[in-house]
Amino acid sequence: MKVKKYFSNIVEALLTTFEGMSITLDHFFRRPVTYDYYAYGDHKRMPKLLAKDGIERYSDTLSDGYRGILEVDGNICTGCSICEKACPIGVISIGKGKNEEKKMQVNSFIIDNSKCMYCGLCSKDCPTQAIQHTKEFEATNIRIENLVYDWAETPYVAYNVKKDGERERVELGSLVREKKLKFDVTPRYDFPKIVDAPKVKKKKLKTPPVVSGNRKTRIKKEEGE
């Protein structure tokens, strides 16, 4: 039995190694599934690579269910503030009031993207899917205040499902892209210009009087004096 096991081990080792090698050899001749992401380098090459597969943006290469920057469509938002309650870290704050026709109005819908941890609890509970995670991920900005998006810059009337009937949601991510363009102070991929610090005239320091000799001799001198 042991002898049989000894030889079967050898055969098994060989066969499993060959099996593994066949898989790596197969993958070696396949096209890579990833796309190059040139954040700082040759970003002219980027659209060409994506255009091969008929893709416009990087965000479209991400898988479904990716949780990127939050987006609110005011058109179908009911103003129920379930998302505000669902958020565990208080990213969302909604200000509500009434307009002249005494209908509920959303005055401010502020999402602080610098705090958001992209857990998806808000979008999960939303009854009309007004708040959703998009696939947009490049939110980098030179000022952290610019990451606070107000989704009700022009106050909107809350959507009433029963009375108003069905409304369509706008394309996911299109609003976020608009917001990002709005807040982009500098054009993308260009570093902000470094301004030289103003030259300060150096003040001449008064040098302390030089005392010659080391500590012992100095003490002796003082004593002598």
Binding site: T17, D26, H27, V33
Partner: protein
């Protein structure tokens, strides 16, 4: 090189004079510099090739930013450590710490002395060539042990000791499978070993008999273990030992360690080629000696590159073994099998000597050749099948 020196001495009639020593010295230095440059270039470029291959096997492109298809990446990798600070840990054994990487590099690099690239391209055809190669590679073990000991770091020490125990264990099956080749050849000289084998696959040592086929596998795998390549890279197991014996190294000394590691790829592949796969032996003979040599170098290098590819492929195929598994593989499988191989090869060559005309031995050679060719086709056909399966899905 030796023949060129003799030719020059004879032509200018300077035998026995002072000029003879000078010519030999100049020749020695120039040729060793040429070979060293080739070695460094190979090690550097292989680092890029390996990363590219690894990338493609994991469905990603690999380094492709610097230069055309990222070819200059290896230069960047070499320049970067040069401008880094050369740190030394507190309480390190200074002299040993400084010297250790060069020991490793010397152990690997000195092997190049006996590797024949073609009929007349060899630095020095020692009559104990293969023995020299086996002996000088042990310097690398000493270097790794020194590095581990002098770093004043537990991880380094464990890595160094692991490396030493691994290399000493695997020296045994490695040398025994070399012994089988030496039995067949009757000589320790590298050129004699190559000349004994023919140009065609069934004349190579690997297909001499099924025992030699087993011997090839043992030699190949144990030289992987000696060069501490995956799946036997326990001395530098990241998950347990941070980086093993080179944990405390930085800057150019760290780079030298890795240069030695990738250079070792060439040495491993070249030795397996010479011992088992016919070396530079080519079926073509031209009137021009340069053309003949050129073809031989091409044949030798193509064999080496195929083996290097297989070594890299193995690295990205197999997971790392445990230390007890490593020792089990060596002492319960490789050592007994290689002993059996040596014994049966000795008996076999007495009963069925190599012949030029067709005989039982030639038949066995062809059958053994078909055996290892079947293994290669098995892998390739299986790869195609895998591909079809995934495409259907």
């Amino acid at each position: 090189m030796e023949s060129l020196g003799l030719y020059l001495i004879e032509k200018f009639n300077i035998e026995g004079s002072f000029a003879q020593n000078i010519t030999l010295l100049v020749l020695m230095i120039t040729f060793s510099l040429i070979v060293l440059t080739w070695f460094l270039l190979f090690a550097g470029i292989t680092s890029w090739v390996e990363r590219r291959i690894a990338g493609r096997m994991q469905c990603r492109p690999g380094p492709n930013v610097n230069g055309p298809e990222g070819f200059l990446q290896w230069l960047m990798d070499a320049i970067k450590p040069m401008e880094k600070e050369d740190l030394m840990p507190d309480g390190a054994d200074k002299w040993m710490f400084k010297v250790a990487p060069y020991f490793v590099f010397m152990g690997v690099g000195s092997t190049l002395l006996v590797i024949p690239y073609s009929e007349s391209l060899i630095l020095g055809d020692l009559n104990i060539g293969i023995f020299y190669a086996v002996a000088i590679t042990s310097l690398a073990t000493i270097g790794i042990l020194l590095a581990g000991w002098s770093s004043n770091n537990k991880w380094s020490l464990i890595g160094g000791v692991r490396a030493a125990s691994q290399m000493i264990s695997y020296e045994v099956p490695n040398s025994l499978s070399i012994l089988a080749v030496v039995l067949l050849t009757g000589s320790l000289s590298m050129q004699d070993i190559v000349l004994e084998q023919g140009a065609y696959p069934w004349q190579w040592n690997i297909s001499h008999s099924p025992f030699m086929l087993a011997s090839f596998f043992i030699f190949f795998i144990s030289s992987l273990a000696e060069g501490s390549r995956t799946p036997f890279d326990l001395p530098e197991g990241e998950s347990e030992l941070v980086s093993g014996y080179n944990t405390e190294y930085s800057g150019i000394r760290f780079a030298v360690f890795f240069l030695a590691e990738w250079g070792n790829l060439f040495v491993m592949a070249a030795l397996s080629t010479i011992l088992f796969l016919g070396g530079w032996a080519s079926p073509f003979a031209f009137e021009s000696i340069y053309l003949t040599n050129f073809i031989q170098v091409l044949i030798f290098l193509s064999k080496v590159f195929i083996l290097v590819f297989i070594i890299i492929q193995l690295r990205w195929t197999l997971p790392r073994v445990r230390i007890d598994q490593l020792m089990t593989i060596c002492w319960t499988y490789f050592v007994p099998i290689s002993l059996v191989v040596v014994l049966f090869t000795a008996i076999w060559m007495n009963f069925f000597p190599r012949t030029d005309s067709f005989s039982f031995q030639t038949l066995v050679q062809i059958i053994t050749m078909l055996m290892w060719m079947y293994m290669i086709f098995y892998v390739i056909v299986k790869a195609f099948k895998n591909r079809k399966l995934t495409e259907e899905k």
